[in-house]
């Protein structure tokens, strides 16, 4: 798979720790919602480092978008979130991954469960759902520590409609007037807001390992078929 040159066209701060990079990538071959790319940074002396990042933009969007969370002791993310600026370049290749994807070709309900920056590929799916006019019912359950950690908050709220539901769970602290969920995404919440196993939803779970283990386990416990639960995990060492 070929390396392509990406040029940063715009940087959009999302939260105190995350930035969306809007990229011009000549020859980008298009992608499916949920896929990721490999990014390669090269220093002046030839040193290079690679990491994987989920694609935040839906298929067919004007620019490829990556939303990157800063890992303080990471090697690549501190550069991408604080140093990189409009006009800077790096290499990427992709799209990668043909499993954690949603194409909108079938009408089965979709349950998306994201933890932290695990919401990034799910945002691509939600936007693809909206742009494609899919009639599938979709529900995004999104866990963040505080309101300030919620990525894409206004956009996701604006996309809510009768076919697209949003539940935001705040696990650490929440405003007194918070109307969303307080506490972790657990079996109780998933039973309350998720689809019942009888309608055979497609489930997509993305986040840190402990989150994915817990949510995927809860979904299996509620009776969802393991084969309909797709997971993507971000290790703490993603850097």
């Amino acid at each position: 798979m070929r390396w392509l040159v990406a040029t940063i066209a715009e940087t959009v701060p999302e939260t105190i720790r995350t930035v969306t990079l809007r990229l011009d990538v000549p020859d980008w071959p298009s992608h499916r919602a949920g896929q990721h790319v490999d990014v390669r940074l090269t220093a002046e002396d030839g040193y290079s480092a690679q990491r994987s990042y989920s694609i935040a933009s839906p298929p067919g969007s004007e620019r490829l978008e990556l939303t990157v969370e800063r890992i303080d002791d990471g090697e690549v993310s501190p550069y991408l979130t604080t140093e990189a600026d409009v006009g800077d370049q790096f290499e990427l290749r992709g799209p990668i991954g043909g499993w954690f994807v949603w194409d909108g070709t079938d009408t089965a309900p979709v349950l998306l469960v994201g933890g932290g920056s695990g919401v990034v590929p799910l945002r691509a799916i939600v936007r693809h759902h909206a742009a494609s006019g899919s009639t599938a019912a979709m529900h995004l359950v999104y866990s963040a520590r505080t309101l300030g950690d919620v990525i894409y908050r206004r956009e996701l709220e604006a996309l809510v409609d009768p076919r697209r539901a949003l539940t935001v769970a705040l696990t650490r602290e929440s405003p007194p007037d918070w109307a969303g969920h307080r506490g972790r995404v657990d079996a109780g919440l998933l039973a309350e807001v998720g689809w019942p196993p009888s309608v055979q939803p497609h489930c997509y779970v993305c986040g840190p390992t402990a989150f994915v283990e817990s949510v995927a386990g809860a979904l299996v416990g509620l009776g969802h078929q393991p084969g309909r639960i797709r997971t993507e995990r971000f290790g703490p060492t993603g850097g």
């Binding site: 090269t42 040193y47 690679q50 043909g98 060492t237």
Partner: protein, 347 residues
């Protein structure tokens, strides 16, 4: 007639290049980090049978390849000629058709290499013979040569200890990240078994948990490399060699498909799981293998990317045709050699 020595300029060029370990591609960097005795020991334990001379960027094409081969043949003959070329034989393709890209490369190289001869060249790798020994000369990912794109202001962590020991594009971790496509299966040991089946599904061998644990176990310490970029050095496992698992079975199959609880599959050439290269592991770091890492038992094939080391293993299906498994069907490389950075289709 012996090979002509390379000019000082050429040698200096490669000394400079090889001293920047990040420009190295393939296991050459790994060789470089060790003294000769360690190289031989490591080669024995890893059963490395093909020499990988790895060059990045512009040096991967044309005359530069020949110069590099010559420089290496001149200056570092000893550690390399000890390797047996067993694996190379099927890799060496037929003579290049006249006029093909490969033939052009051969023609371009032959005069430059002296004793070296390029016999196979594709977009992703070249194989050259130097004094009778084959070398893989690989560039990364089949890209065309061009100036690297420098990211302004990027420095990176660079001098991470042990970084010379990991394949291209990898970084070292101390913890043990988790990656799987779906939920972690929950299987009681009394319902667990391990089977070897043939293509028709007929059971050739079967062990329940007690029988499996009674098989002779081995302690192994290996480096593991995940396609998601992390590598972990010196991991300690206990398990049963796949040689033991397949020991009593007479088969003409050339491939194995590992299958797991949860429906995961991955395909491997049979020669890659025999000969002390693969285990069914059930302990990690002196503890029973945790479910999220593949417990009760997982395949361990450390010389390939770690997705080949199927978690929650329940058996091996022996096949005559190569059948892509789960990740191999959705964009990941069919073989997955980390030293050749075979991550995705087309790498």
């Amino acid at each position: 007639m012996g090979p002509a020595r390379s000019s000082d300029d050429v040698i200096n060029c490669y000394v400079r290049m090889f001293s920047t370990r990040d420009s190295l591609r393939g296991s050459f960097g790994w060789y470089w980090a060790l003294d000769t005795t360690s190289q031989n020991a490591q080669r024995k334990s890893r059963r490395l049978t093909m020499l990988v001379l790895a060059i990045g960027g512009d040096a991967s094409f044309g005359q530069n390849v020949g110069d590099a081969v010559t420089a290496v043949a001149d200056d570092r003959p000893r550690p390399h000629t000890a390797a047996a070329p067993r694996r190379c034989v099927p890799t060496l393709g037929p003579a290049a058709p006249p006029g093909s890209r490969r033939a052009q490369a051969v023609n371009a190289l032959t005069p430059a290499t002296g004793a070296g001869r390029l016999i196979e060249s594709t977009r992703t790798q070249s194989i050259a013979v130097v004094e009778g020994w084959p070398y893989v000369v690989s560039c990364r990912s089949g890209e065309e040569p061009r100036m690297p794109v420098v990211s302004r202001g990027f420095r990176g962590r660079r001098r991470q200890p042990g970084v010379g020991l990991v394949p291209p594009g990898q970084y070292l971790v101390d913890d043990f990240p988790v990656l799987s496509a779906g939920p972690t299966p929950d299987v009681a040991l009394e319902n667990w078994d391990l089977t070897v089946v043939d293509e028709s599904g007929a059971v050739l061998a079967l062990w329940d948990w007690g029988e499996f644990r009674a098989l002779p176990a081995e302690d192994v310490m290996v480096d593991i490399h995940c396609v998601t970029k992390w590598s972990k050095l010196g991991t300690r496992w206990q398990g049963v060699s796949v040689d033991t698992i397949l020991g009593g079975i007479d088969t003409a199959a050339e491939f194995a498909v590992a299958f797991s609880d949860g429906g995961y599959t991955t395909n491997l050439p049979l020669v890659d799981v025999l000969d002390g290269q693969a285990w069914v592991a059930y302990r990690f770091d002196d503890e029973d293998l945790e479910p999220e890492h593949g417990g009760p038992a997982r395949l361990l094939v450390p010389h390939l990317y770690f997705w080949k080391s199927a978690k929650w293993l329940r058996g091996l299906r022996l096949t005559s045709e190569d059948e892509p498994g789960f990740w191999e069907s959705v964009g990941y490389h069919n073989y997955g050699d980390p030293w050749r950075e075979q991550r995705y289709w087309g790498d």
